[in-house]
Symmetry: C2
């Protein structure tokens, strides 16, 4: 493979892909939209993201040369290249939602998925009282139809919004049906399986901060 500019064939650390590149893209897109920024230095991008300029230069160097010394990055080109790298260029990713309770309904109503190329095209529940009812523009399907629908609709991403007790089984069924990536809103850590899994648990995030709040409280009392 000849890919000019990319001399770096080292394995790219997961944290670059999973944490930092999406944040670079988000910050650069906002710079474009808000201020019409055309060029940005690694220093300024770093400031916007609480990273060092060196970190940014190193991360981007995995994918080729984007900037010229002293001129900064061309924002439009960098956005385009990051979208390509992350698999977001000219592509819609179809998603299936499992679990149409309050949380599932909120997920269907979340306004930022579709504009970013992520479309929920099917919703499932095991509760007969919910099957056949509408959620947004979708008609809730029975879990029995999961496998067939995923194949027919070319669904590659699953969203899990069921209670913790059901989550493990739902994740396995999604994996069996061929889903390669799962956004898991259930409060469990799924064992490593066939799919990539990313968890969203706001309670964990809160608990990660209360440790520090508690320290402040104790200092305040002294």
């Amino acid at each position: 493979m000849v890919w000019s500019g990319n001399k770096n064939t080292k394995k790219i650390p997961d944290i670059v892909i999973e944490e930092r590149l999406p944040k670079y893209l988000r910050a650069l897109t906002r710079m474009q939209e808000n201020g019409g920024v055309e060029r940005v230095s690694s220093e300024d991008l770093g400031k916007a993201l609480n990273y060092s300029a060196a970190q940014i230069r190193k991360d981007l160097s995995y994918f080729g040369r984007f900037g010229k010394q002293g001129q900064g990055y061309d924002v439009k080109k960098l956005v385009q290249r990051l979208r390509e790298i992350l698999g977001l260029e000219n592509k819609q990713w179809n998603m299936a939602l499992v679990g149409v309770g309050g949380l599932g309904r909120a997920i269907v109503g979340y306004g930022r998925f579709a504009p970013q190329g992520f479309k929920i095209v099917a919703a499932f529940d095991h509760d007969p009282a919910k099957v056949g009812k509408k959620v947004g523009t979708l008609v809730v399907k029975d879990m029995k139809e999961l496998g067939d629908t995923i194949k027919r609709e070319n669904i590659q991403i699953g969203i899990v919004a069921v209670p913790a007790s059901a989550a493990q089984q739902v994740i396995e069924r999604l994996e069996e049906a061929g889903v390669k990536a799962i956004l898991n809103y259930a409060p469990i850590t799924a064992p490593r399986g066939k799919a990539k899994i990313q968890d969203i648990d706001p309670v964990l995030k809160l608990q990660s901060m209360t440790y520090y709040l508690k320290q402040d409280d104790q200092i305040g009392k002294k």
Copy 2:
């Protein structure tokens, strides 16, 4: 300070506090609730969380001795101690929500905050059409009342559910009002300020997985 059992005065890495301890607590609580598990080895806890046993033993050693060689950890005691460490013991944390659009309403309706000791006690919006209306059991207040309410209601945590364009200013106002921790649902990276901030952005999580999906696609086409 005399604190028996804790001989370790090294600084505890942030990743232990912010990522792993809350996950240990979540997994142990589930073991208690589901199977009535009384003792667990670092190996089994590791398996449930995709961590090594050595990692778990090392993390917990920062806070004292919890297990006896060959007998595993006493689940009930470890849960209790983790709750103390994380500042969750016998305590309710009061939270203020800013932004009562679709996302904000979903956050008020989210069932897992209150049982875990996190209570939304006030909701704010800058839109006069929303102020005075109800969201859940709360009456939406005007942003003008933010500072006074935070002091009066002893609110230490803010939840930001406003659009990206307003988020920076809202975060600053929460910090000025004395909030020490912020759960940020707006798609921005806030600059480091006075408060601890944790972000929740499901689009970033999806984008962190599409890189790998794209690789699979390309392999599939070869």
